[in-house]
């Protein structure tokens, strides 16, 4: 029984780290650009499909395909920021949300046209045989997803803490006007933030797509879950998003043990509880 719980908890932890990755991108876009990005899941989906396309159709090495896919989706995000969101900087909440919904519909429909509705598997060089680590069994692909996500989170933290641009981003997070006063270039900052957010979502999609499969509508639930995580952790908080993702993942993992049909409801119930008792999230920034 204990082994079973440990197994479900660890599975949940790995999926949860993935949620963190996607949600951090979302919370950064929100914190810096003040945009609730309803197309976030579609960038996640695109990451999965780009990796699939590069590895399957072009026969690229899986690891190369993963990296190229992430960069490509970041470029797509950058393009949308330049084409759409620059013009909406002073627009209402409604306009920017509608624009992201439009982008989401567009990307999902394009994926549907290009790759069709059926789920596809990303070809990866991992053995399907599970490795025994202590009380739990893990496949290589899960271990790889786990390590890659951890490495990305650490790199992101170092980038934000140590580099000049990262400092500028943190400044804009805390005080938008003051950041402008000291001469931070908003255009570059916003374009970079959106590209980075899209890229993080893409990595999430490509990694989880390797564990399961990729299909055009996979982004819908991903967007909702990313928002759940962001609410759990407090809107605009990176630490909150990281821990929120882990909480959601583990709660879902343990929820699967009890009643797998209701697994996806766990997060939504958590959100309602949080909003009733801790409306600013668990980790208010």
């Amino acid at each position: 029984m204990v082994e079973l719980i440990a197994q479900f908890a660890v599975n949940g932890l790995i999926v949860g780290l993935n949620y963190s990755l996607t949600a951090i991108g979302l919370t950064m876009i929100f914190g810096i650009m003040n945009i609730a990005n309803f197309a976030h899941g579609q960038f996640y989906m695109l990451g999965g499909f780009f990796a699939y396309f590069l590895a399957q159709a072009l026969g690229l090495n899986y690891f190369v395909a993963l990296a190229v896919a992430v960069v490509a989706v970041a470029c797509v995000g950058w393009a949308f920021e330049r084409l759409v969101f620059t013009r909406l900087r002073r627009a209402t909440l409604l306009s920017s949300v509608l624009a992201t919904i439009g982008i989401g519909i567009l990307l999902e429909a394009l994926a549907h046209v290009v790759w069709g509705p059926q789920p596809e598997n990303i070809p990866a060089p991992f053995s399907p045989i599970a490795v025994e680590i202590g009380p739990v069994y893990l496949t290589e692909s899960r271990i790889f997803a786990f390590l890659t996500t951890i490495a990305t989170l650490v790199a992101l933290q170092l980038f934000l803490a140590r580099t000049r641009f990262g400092t500028a981003m943190r400044a804009a997070f805390q005080q938008q006007e003051a950041a402008l006063l000291v001469g931070i270039d908003v255009d570059r900052l916003h374009a970079f933030t959106f590209a980075l957010g899209a890229g993080l979502a893409a990595l999430g999609g490509a990694l989880l797509g390797t564990l399961f499969s990729v299909y055009p509508t996979m982004g819908d639930l991903a967007t909702l879950k990313a928002f759940i995580v962001v609410i759990l952790g407090g809107l605009g908080s990176i630490v909150g998003a990281t821990i929120g993702g882990l909480i959601l993942g583990v709660a879902e993992g343990l929820g699967t043990m009890v009643a797998s049909a209701w697994k996806d409801a766990v997060g939504f119930l958590l959100v309602i509880l949080i909003l009733l008792y801790k409306p600013d999230g668990l980790f208010k920034r």
Binding site: V97, L98, G102
Partner: protein, 331 residues
């Protein structure tokens, strides 16, 4: 006086427009026949109710609710369950569905309308998703993904005249027309009442509104509950027209579609969402020729509209009207 004659001219024009509109609405089944086109008009009428009610919430009170389809679906499910288990016809189902939708909106509103803004937006999405999961997984009551079939349209017995069976498409059309007309008339009455002005005050400047006695929370709640009530009516109509309801009514894409109708039709009006409902019910159907590219086109259209026509079709109409007046005035 010039202005009074212009007023008289305008009111005469309005009368003619009304007469034409009523005549067109009544003649619809004869012109379109019993087939697919009439079906689209009936669907448009049903969505017009839902879109107009969302228009009150989004366009007037400025609350971006992304869970409106949850109230539509609640109305559909409640009336369906009442019909299947208690034999309650549409009339009772409509009232019950709308009441339940409004009551749920009240409870949800109490939890989340205190702070409006991004969190409200996100929670409304999550709420609709919860409703979908419940409809999907509570198989004992909802039959899960299979949905609830066999919800029949009502009959209306008229003393001395026999009974009208609304299962016939033409008859249902007149029923939908009457219900939609009543709902939309009520909604625009509300929108033009002091309550509607309060909603606008809430949207434009909350602090200023509070200072002249417009309670922000109270008005937000009223808009949310009234909107949910009418969405519930639309949902009940939908269930009894299609004879089936499934968890798909709770899909986020339905909310998106309603929102598109509202925003593209025109924010801050009731007629805009109604026009939007007709355009965006018919458009995707006729675009079916280009099936796969339909949503590509749709998404692009949405982005372009947000960038260049933020006030929707009504803005387009106003511009045309202004150009015409300018032209007529110069003559």
């Amino acid at each position: 006086m010039a202005s009074s004659s212009a007023d008289r001219g305008r009111s005469r024009l309005r009368l003619v427009a009304w007469a034409l509109g009523v005549a067109a609405a009544l003649a619809c089944p004869w012109v379109l026949g019993e087939g697919y086109h009439l079906h689209l008009v009936i669907m448009s009428l049903i969505f017009a109710i839902a879109a107009a009610s969302l228009g009150l919430i989004v366009g007037y009170a400025g609350l971006l609710s992304l869970g409106h389809t949850a109230f539509f679906g609640l109305g559909a499910y409640v009336s369906a369950l009442l019909f299947l288990h208690g034999g309650v016809p549409l009339w009772g189902g409509m009232l019950a569905g709308a009441t339940v939708a409004a009551a749920v909106a009240f409870l949800l509103g109490r939890a989340i309308l205190g702070v409006r803004g991004h969190r409200f937006v996100i929670v409304t999405v999550a709420f609709a998703e919860i409703m979908r999961l419940v409809a999907y997984n509570w198989v004992d009551v909802t039959r899960g993904p299979q949905g609830l079939p066999g919800i029949l349209a009502p009959t209306l017995a008229l003393p001395g005249l026999g009974a009208i069976d609304f299962a016939a498409k033409t008859n249902f059309y007149y029923l939908a027309l009457a219900v939609a007309f009543a709902c939309i008339a009520l909604l625009s009455r509300i929108a033009r009442s002091p309550l509607g002005w309060g909603f606008l005050a809430l949207r434009e400047n909350e602090q200023l509104g509070e200072s002249i006695g417009v309670g922000a929370f109270r008005h937000a709640m009223l808009a949310f509950v009234i909107g949910a009530f009418f969405a519930g009516i639309g949902g009940a109509l939908y269930a009894h027209y299609l004879n089936i309801v499934s968890p798909d009514v709770f899909f986020f894409s339905n909310t998106t579609m309603l929102l598109v109708m509202v925003v593209m039709g025109g924010l801050g009006t009731i007629v805009g969402p109604v026009v939007g409902a007709f355009v965006f019910t018919a458009l995707p159907e006729y675009l079916r020729v280009a099936s796969d590219y339909r949503l590509v086109f749709f998404g692009s259209l949405l982005i372009v509209a947000v960038l260049f026509f933020p006030r929707g079709l009504v803005e387009l109409g106003e511009r045309v009207a202004a150009a015409w007046r300018h032209f007529a005035g110069r003559r």
